[in-house]
């Protein structure tokens, strides 16, 4: 991407309706909160990756640091998961989403200062929550491990953001609403509803027996399909046409994608309880919804793939499109895998294995993370009015992420099938089956290292950009004070 040239070009494409407020003004309103969200999202990405790395190291060297319970595998895993979902993915997604709200609605962000305050509170809630898990105060509910006090704080923090984000949405300029705007509006409401329900019914006033587990499963499905997915799709539906300069194909179907995602996404969660001790109809409705999720998934593919395919050369070159193209492929593959393995005869083999784990890893790190990281490559230069200092670091980030992702996901997905098959065969001793998983963990160490190196490249580039932006101001401030000091000295 050549510096200002491409920015101007893609912005011009976004600018077709008449007389909008200048984009610079919209970006200025976004700068503080969006930058906060992106930066803290990145920080949590590093923290979460580190915890994840430590966890797999504990699998390979279980006696290392064993004396410290805060470093036990069972605490590192939920700590990493929460850091990545609420710290990284949610904050990056909100940052990108806020920027899109202003851009697409052609209206400045409402109350950016309060939104930024919400961001600070969010990070505080999360820090408390992650520390609590590591110190042994986790709730033990799958997907809701952070203790009640930190989750309520998180909800309060979200209110600061959500209320003003919806206000911004409502101020959108007249004219047709774009698909990204439906997805954003949905996500902005679904998240607090999901979190409030789960907080009340699972953590704060838990029902008896399996009830909290049913609600938690519903919640985890909701976080995937009603929060992270719509946030990511909002970005995909904006950036692909804007950067390629081509409208999405079959765009009239997008409306169906939205409503089917809303309905089946909300019902899909309990599929993960298959074989579990819950009434069969609950699992069945989850399975049906998970399979029907292929409707929105197919439509997303029909909307985006022809555009990406017709601009393959550009996709390979462009900093943003590369990330998004891989993300869309991951989205389709993961959901396809989930649908196929939702059927009982498949679940008998793959449920509870690394194959299932590989799919959820690919969802978070393939689809969601690559979408937001790619989008950040587009958004940050516009916020800061300056292009990325090093295009080479962007390439490093991309290739390391993809390679690392493949090294983590593919061995786990393949060996998970063996794990499931052999666990179903009572003649193979369990200890032997499990011991053989070590090779997968070895690949995971390598893959996570590559992904971490890629993310560090991004962080370096980002820091470099900020230093460049802030150096002139810093220099002039220094010069000013030096001048003043000199004056006062000579005056004496």
């Amino acid at each position: 991407m050549s510096p200002t040239g491409t920015i101007a070009k893609t912005d011009a494409l976004a600018d077709s309706p008449p007389a909008p407020p200048p984009l610079a003004e919209l970006d200025a309103s976004c700068q503080l909160p969006v930058l906060y969200f992106l930066l803290s999202g990145l920080a949590w990405l590093l923290v979460g990756s580190l915890l994840q790395f430590e966890a797999v190291v504990r699998l390979l060297f279980p006696d290392w640091c064993a004396i410290c319970p805060a470093m036990s595998y069972g605490r590192l895993v939920p700590a990493a998961e929460n850091a990545l979902v609420y710290g990284f993915a949610s904050q990056m997604g909100l940052g990108i989403g806020l920027w899109l709200l202003a851009r697409l609605g052609r209206t400045p962000l409402v109350a950016p200062g309060l939104i930024a305050a919400g961001n600070v509170l969010w990070n505080l809630a999360l820090t408390v929550g992650i520390l609590a898990i590591l110190l042994g105060d986790g709730t033990g509910h799958a997907g809701l491990e952070m203790p009640a006090y930190s989750q309520w704080m998180l909800l309060a923090a979200y209110m600061f953001v959500g209320i003003w984000a919806v206000q911004t949405w409502a101020h959108h300029s007249s004219g047709p609403l774009y698909a990204s705007q439906w997805f954003l509006l949905g996500a902005l409401f679904w998240f607090p509803w999901l979190l409030t329900t789960a907080q009340l019914v699972v953590v704060t006033f838990p029902g008896r027996g399996v009830l909290p587990a049913i609600t938690a499963a519903w919640f985890v499905g909701g976080i995937q399909h009603l929060w992270l997915t719509p946030l990511a799709l909002a970005a995909i539906y904006y950036f692909i046409p804007v950067i390629t300069g081509r409208p999405l194909r079959n765009y009239h179907l997008a409306v169906i994608a939205f409503w089917s995602l809303a309905l089946f996404g909300a019902w899909s969660g309990p599929a993960r309880l298959i074989g579990g001790p819950v009434p069969a109809w609950i699992v069945t409705s989850g399975i049906v919804a998970t399979v029907l999720l292929l409707i929105p998934v197919t439509i997303v593919a029909l909307n985006t793939w022809p555009v990406l395919g017709s601009r393959l050369g550009q996709v390979c070159q462009n900093q943003v499109l590369r990330f998004l193209a891989v993300a869309v492929v991951c989205f389709v593959l993961v959901n396809l895998g989930n649908a196929v393995n939702a059927f009982r005869f498949r679940a008998a083999v793959t449920h509870l294995t690394l194959n299932e784990w590989a799919r959820s890893f690919a969802f978070l790190h393939g689809f969601v993370a690559l979408t937001f990281l790619g989008a950040a490559y587009h958004v940050v230069p516009r916020l800061m009015r300056r292009d990325w200092p090093s295009p080479r670091l962007v390439s490093v980030h991309f290739w390391f992420s993809i390679l690392g992702l493949a090294l983590v996901v593919i061995p786990a997905a393949v060996d998970g099938l063996r794990q499931g098959r052999e666990l179903n065969d009572a003649t193979v001793p369990a200890a032997r089956i499990l011991e053989q998983l070590r090779s997968v963990f070895g690949w995971r160490v390598l893959g996570l290292t590559l992904m971490g190196a890629g993310n560090l490249a991004f962080v370096t580039n980002f820091a470099w950009l900020l230093v460049r932006c802030w150096t002139p101001g810093f220099k002039s401030a220094v010069a000013f004070f030096a001048n003043e000091a000199a004056k006062s000295v000579t005056a004496r």
Partner: protein, 211 residues
């Protein structure tokens, strides 16, 4: 799709349908689930855990054993759990009436523990395994919990509850490792994990059926 309020209503209704279906209705359906009282023996199942085991459950949760160990036995047509001897029948909602929070788990990097107490039977309790699984099973990646044991000085003879460490795992002479109260609680919990009791919705197989 250009009317904000209409979109909002759709967002609300799709969500509400799942909320009613998957949160409200299960709460109504399962709210009255009660322990089953056997007609033959007059015993009720499941039973609340006594104090020690209940404390142990907290420890199990806090240490995150669930990251590797599941506690659920899938039905015979849904996996090989029963054939593997992890349970004599599938697990059902009633088995977990007194489990809080549920430790069903979503990864099987380790043997299922739903019936661990049953499997343990009269074997010695797994203190050594909790201290360091490698001291029992070479090559295991089960997490060690040395912090659940205290070291104390001894005069040559090990006390009855001290760990009998095999070669390669010894500590210096003149001292021994004994379980803390927490270790006892965790073991009490692990012992309490069992549901080899028939229920109307999940009967145990009779001897002929097993053949």
């Amino acid at each position: 799709m250009n009317h904000g309020p209409l979109i909002f209503l759709g967002i609300l209704f799709t969500f509400a349908s799942a909320w009613c279906g998957l949160v409200l209705v299960p709460h109504q359906q399962l709210a009255d689930l009660a322990p089953n009282v056997s007609e033959e023996t007059g015993q009720s199942f499941p039973q609340a855990r006594p104090g020690d085991a209940a404390q142990g459950a907290r420890l199990y949760t806090s240490l995150g054993c669930v990251a590797c160990h599941t506690q659920q036995v899938r039905p015979e047509d849904g996996g090989g759990d029963i054939a593997r001897g992890w349970g004599s029948r599938r697990s059902v909602a009633r088995d977990y009436l007194y489990d809080m929070p549920l430790q069903l788990g979503n990864q099987r990097l380790a043997p299922d523990l739903a019936n661990y107490g049953e499997r343990l039977g009269t074997n010695p309790p797994p203190y050594l395994h909790l201290y360091n699984p490698r001291a029992v099973t070479a090559g295991s990646f089960c997490s060690a919990n040395p912090f659940l044991f205290t070291r104390r000085a001894t005069n040559n003879t090990l006390s009855p509850d001290a760990l009998r460490l095999r070669k390669g795992f010894e500590i210096e002479v003149g001292s021994e490792l004994v379980p803390t109260r927490e270790a006892d609680q965790l073991v009490a919990y692990l012992r309490s994990l069992r549901f080899a009791v028939g229920l109307p919705e999940a009967p145990l197989k009779t001897a002929e059926e097993t053949k």
